[in-house]
């Protein structure tokens, strides 16, 4: 078959879910073995249960913490996305005042450190709210979730604005010439095309949020990293346990975020606009 002298990228192979191949497994196992081995060597003199046994014993509790991190990230992403889409649409609204407000909110929350927003959410929100006669408790993790959803909102708003503005303007004019109203143009022509452009950066954002959820340990939410340090204390604060324990947390997050990252790359390749 003759190859055309035109830059035609080959269609990417379909995405496979288990992108972790033997190589990655080997690296991970090697890392853990190194950490555990070093710890074993240090602890060998004392009559401790082995490091692996210690990790195993605390696994149910640590996994509970990890699931909690995932829950926080999913909820923050859901809240942040809904608000972010509204804010993003606000940035391209016909009303100049609305555009300005949306722009300001986006820039404000996009350029604030996540930890600072988290502190604000933790210490400014009450621990319970009274609506009528009903008391609704606002536990720490929920406040942290709200804190995380603010940067998600701002970043999603930018993703939405960017995607809308990346659609060639001719489409708006074409729609107008076909007597589409502005709203119908937006919802039926522009936004459907935006979805696939927004998906990869939005997933990237999700990965970042998931990894950022450990920040909640700073403000006293009992998530995985908090539990790791509590487990370390419960095990007598032995120095040789530090690396295996934190390494364990690292591997959990890696195993969760890496496939998302690969999927993002795959989608980016697939949706790449070829001109």
């Amino acid at each position: 078959m003759k190859v055309l002298p035109v830059i035609l990228r080959p269609a990417p192979a379909p995405w496979r879910a288990p992108v972790l191949d033997r190589r990655h497994g080997l690296f991970l196992a090697l890392g853990l073995v190194l950490a555990v081995g070093a710890a074993e060597a240090q602890g060998a003199a004392a009559a401790h249960p082995s490091v692996l046994a210690t990790l195993w014993r605390w696994t149910p509790l640590l996994m509970e913490g990890f699931v909690f991190n995932i829950a926080i990230s999913l909820l923050a992403m859901a809240i942040g996305t809904v608000m972010g889409v509204l804010l993003g649409l606000g940035q391209v609204a016909p009303s100049a005042a609305l555009r300005r407000v949306a722009w300001f909110l986006t820039q404000f929350f996009r350029n604030a450190p996540w930890l600072v927003l988290l502190f604000f959410a933790m210490f400014l929100l009450p621990f319970e709210v009274r609506v009528g006669g009903v008391t609704i408790p606002l536990p720490g993790w929920l406040k942290a979730t709200i804190g995380f959803s603010l940067p998600v909102m701002a970043n999603t708003a930018e993703i939405v604005r960017g995607a809308i503005q990346s659609i060639p303007f001719g489409q708006w004019e074409a729609a107008e010439s076909l007597a589409f109203s502005r709203r119908r143009t937006l919802w039926m022509i522009i936004l459907p095309q935006c979805v696939k452009r927004m998906l990869p950066p939005w997933m990237n954002l999700y990965s970042l949020v998931t990894m950022a959820t450990v920040l909640a340990s700073v403000v006293g939410v009992t998530e995985m990293l908090t539990l790791v340090s509590e487990v370390h204390a419960a095990e007598g604060g032995r120095a040789e346990l530090l690396a295996p324990l934190y390494g364990y947390a690292l591997i959990c997050f890696f195993l969760y975020c890496y496939p998302i990252g690969r999927l993002t790359v795959h989608l980016e390749r697939r949706f790449q606009v070829r001109i």
């Binding site: 004392a46 149910p60 210490f123 009450p126 340090s229 120095a239």
Partner: protein, 269 residues
């Protein structure tokens, strides 16, 4: 018309306010059926987690006694030094038993329960080979210490010891293991926790009485006098019956001088 509605609603609000303030924390606990206590979860053996995730230790046990006395369920909330007083002020926790040293500036923020239930002190983790009973016997001895501990200088000048400082608490322990010094000068509660660990149980001990005591305080929100009175009475009863010493023994800690002194003092009363 509108003005009168406003006036009526303001009156209603004013009438409602003192009513809300009169219900104190004891009423709220009874109404809720749960006592919420803030404890540490990273301070073995005073408050830490077991593999099921439950919070256990000396302070959770004390909290359980308070709940039993009130006849309500107990809920433990994990607190850290940075948020424990804030939680109390907000009302997120009813009571705080969280290894908090009693300090004048803290008394301005929360209400401290007297008598103070426990006390940390300064002590030395010594190798078993070192047989001493008095601090004076440490004259000229080499001790490892943690940089920045306020008592390093005082101990050095008062007892003539030679202190080699390290950052944090891990490095001096390693130095002690390697024989760079004969003991580690640090907080007594920390050393007591270390002695629970198999690594230190054999070959090390804490034979000296603690010095420079820093008492710990149970605290409630300011203005909760009724609850404070009840807790004060409970603390006295604990000291009288030797409950705190019993808890120390239960969790493997050598009873502190402070606990024993308080027990002696209140036993007669």
């Amino acid at each position: 018309m509108r003005r009168s509605i406003l006036a009526i609603s303001m009156l209603a609000a004013a009438a409602a306010l003192p009513g809300a303030a009169a219900a104190d924390v004891l009423d709220r606990i009874k109404e809720r059926g749960t006592l919420v206590v803030g404890v540490k979860t990273d301070y073995k053996p005073f408050g830490f987690r077991d593999p099921s995730g439950a919070i256990i230790g000396i302070e959770p046990d004390m909290a359980a006694e308070v709940a039993k006395k009130l006849g309500v369920k107990l809920e433990l909330v994990s607190v850290v030094s940075a948020n424990r007083m804030e939680f109390l002020k907000q009302g997120k926790i009813d009571l705080m038993i969280a290894t908090m040293s009693d300090k004048p500036e803290r008394r301005k923020v929360v209400q401290v329960i007297e008598p103070l239930y426990y006390s940390d002190a300064v002590n030395v983790l010594l190798s078993d080979k070192v047989k001493v009973t008095k601090w004076e016997q440490l004259k000229g001895a080499k001790l490892c210490g943690t940089t920045g501990a306020f008592y390093n200088k005082d101990v050095a000048s008062q007892y003539g010891t030679d202190i080699i400082s390290f950052d944090g608490s891990e490095k001096p322990l390693i130095a002690l293991k390697q024989g760079n010094c004969i003991g580690y000068l640090y907080d007594q509660t920390f050393i007591a926790g270390k002695l629970l660990d198999d690594e230190w149980k054999q070959g090390y001990h804490m034979p000296l009485p603690g010095i420079m005591e820093t008492p710990w305080a149970i605290a409630v929100a300011p203005g909760e006098d009724r609850f404070a009175k009840m807790l004060s009475d409970m603390t006295k009863a604990w000291m009288k019956s030797g409950q705190i010493i019993a808890l120390e023994k239960k969790w493997g800690v050598k009873p502190t001088d402070y606990s024993e002194r308080m027990h002696k003092e209140y036993k007669g009363s």
